[in-house]
């Protein structure tokens, strides 16, 4: 039982001051919205570079990793693009899509990588997001330009994939 009204008032103020921004951040953009935004951003980026979406690929029943095949001149069979959460448990599924002679490119934090980002890189990225959230008042910690990893499975007969400016994705 709280016996001191000053203590009660202080605790109430502390609760309002600390919980308020978190609730406000939640209201700004939900995780589902962020996932959808990633999908739209990727589609727009590839369309701007001349790629057309061929078919959606169902990788997970809950739709947590949307994937699609994209094609253009110079890549008739098409490349597969997976939008994955930035978590180590998502990478094997992307790898499983590739055949022996396919190449996998991971687009993460504005860079194209031949290997999945390391745990250290993921941790550094998460810290950077936290710092951004702390220093930019009102900016959500989710849904900014780099909230997902793109896994791109490129077949050998797809030279056009080399020309994509992934750093702008």
């Amino acid at each position: 039982m709280i016996r001191h009204w000053r203590l009660a008032a202080s605790l109430a103020a502390l609760a309002a001051l600390t919980l308020g921004p978190k609730i406000a951040l939640h209201g700004s953009l939900s995780m589902l919205d962020a996932g959808r935004a990633d999908q739209l951003r990727t589609e727009r980026f590839l369309a701007d570079n001349g790629w057309s979406r061929q078919e959606a690929i169902v990788l997970t029943l809950d739709g947590s990793m949307p994937a699609a095949r994209y094609a253009r001149a110079g890549c008739a069979t098409g490349m597969t693009v997976v939008i994955a959460p930035p978590r180590a448990d998502a990478f094997p599924l992307i790898g499983a899509l590739a055949r022996d002679d396919d190449r996998i490119v991971f687009i993460f934090d504005g860079r194209a990588l031949d290997q999945p980002p390391s745990n250290t890189a993921l941790l550094r990225w998460k810290f950077a997001r936290i710092l951004r959230a702390v220093t930019a008042t009102g900016t959500t910690t989710r849904g900014d330009a780099s909230s997902a990893i793109l896994g791109v499975v490129v077949p050998p007969d797809c030279p056009a994939a080399r020309d994509i400016p992934w750093s702008a994705a």
């Binding site: 605790l11 502390l14 600390t18 978190k22 180590a88 448990d89 599924l93 499983a96 959230a133 910690t141």
Partner: protein
């Protein structure tokens, strides 16, 4: 428990008057963002079943921890306490749940260390620190570093499914089942999640009914790990037997089943822990009235 423990010193604010409420605020800051996110998508009722952060086990652990903090031996709030409160408050101001989790663990450890002579304070600190550490493990740490744990789950599931029919292969956290439903073991499904839930439930039961720790308490942990691991691997294996079974076992039915199994294991482990701790062993040094007479 004697109510004398909750009486404040006459000449100032008592520490046990502050800590329960302060800890509740830290817990709310730690869990609310994720709870709102999940509840937004699946509703509060389902969220309590599907999310560790808002599960009934977490609510029970928080309530038990607060009760124990109220019952801790009274003393005046001193300068060190104000510093700890200020530090934790600053961390809570960071609009990221991880910072609040850090505040929860740090403040609970401070409370347990400062009031280590009071079994109730140590028990409350154990529960809140355990809750914070488990949240960290299930959250960012699990997502980043648990590839091997998930690969172990996939290995076990593939071998169980291999007993039903041949042709099952696995690699990393993937299980390919040509005759059933292929699976990806993700951070939410990994056995470590129900395992930590069960450990927290057991800790809540044990500390609520017997606050004082004993060295033999941890002996029961392997008997919690084994049944929960077996139950979760069997659950994931059932998901792989067919797309229809996946829907049932992955959905609310499967979630309720694994939750009930976890709670039953925790109750059994809690009973074992309490049964191996006779009341006469309970320390009562901070309350002479409860000390055994010679």
């Amino acid at each position: 428990m004697s109510m004398a423990h909750a009486v404040a010193p006459r000449d100032g604010l008592a520490w046990p008057q502050v800590t329960p409420w302060f800890l509740l605020i830290i817990v709310a800051n730690s869990l609310l963002p994720n709870a709102l996110e999940v509840a937004h998508h699946v509703g509060w009722l389902d969220a309590t079943q599907q999310t560790f952060g808002v599960s009934m086990i977490v609510v029970a652990a928080t309530a038990a921890g607060s009760l124990l903090a109220v019952r801790a031996a009274p003393r005046r709030v001193d300068a060190w306490d104000w510093s700890a409160l200020a530090g934790a408050s600053l961390l809570m101001l960071v609009p990221v749940a991880a910072a609040s989790l850090l505040a929860l663990v740090a403040f609970a450890l401070y409370m347990g260390w400062r009031d280590r002579a009071s079994p109730e304070a140590v028990a409350a600190a154990s529960l809140f620190a355990g809750l914070g550490i488990m949240q960290m493990l299930i959250g960012p740490l699990l997502q980043l570093f648990a590839s091997r744990l998930m690969a172990l789950d996939a290995f076990l599931v593939a071998h169980v499914l291999g007993l039903i029919a041949p042709g099952v292969t696995h690699g990393a956290n993937l299980v390919d089942v040509p005759w059933g439903q292929s699976l990806i073991v993700d951070a939410e499904c990994a056995s470590v999640v129900p395992l930590l839930q069960t450990l927290l439930c057991w800790l809540t039961i044990a500390r609520l009914f017997r606050p004082a720790w004993r060295g033999t308490d941890l002996a029961v942990v392997p008997f919690i790990v084994l049944p929960v691991l077996v139950a979760n691997v069997l659950r994931m294996s059932a998901m792989g037997t067919s797309p229809g079974n996946y829907e049932i076992v992955h959905g609310p039915t499967g979630v309720y089943a694994i939750n009930i199994i976890c709670i039953l294991v925790a109750i059994a482990a809690g009973r074992w822990t309490l049964a191996h701790s006779p009341a006469a062993h309970r320390p009562a040094a901070h309350d002479p009235a409860l000390a055994p007479r010679r």
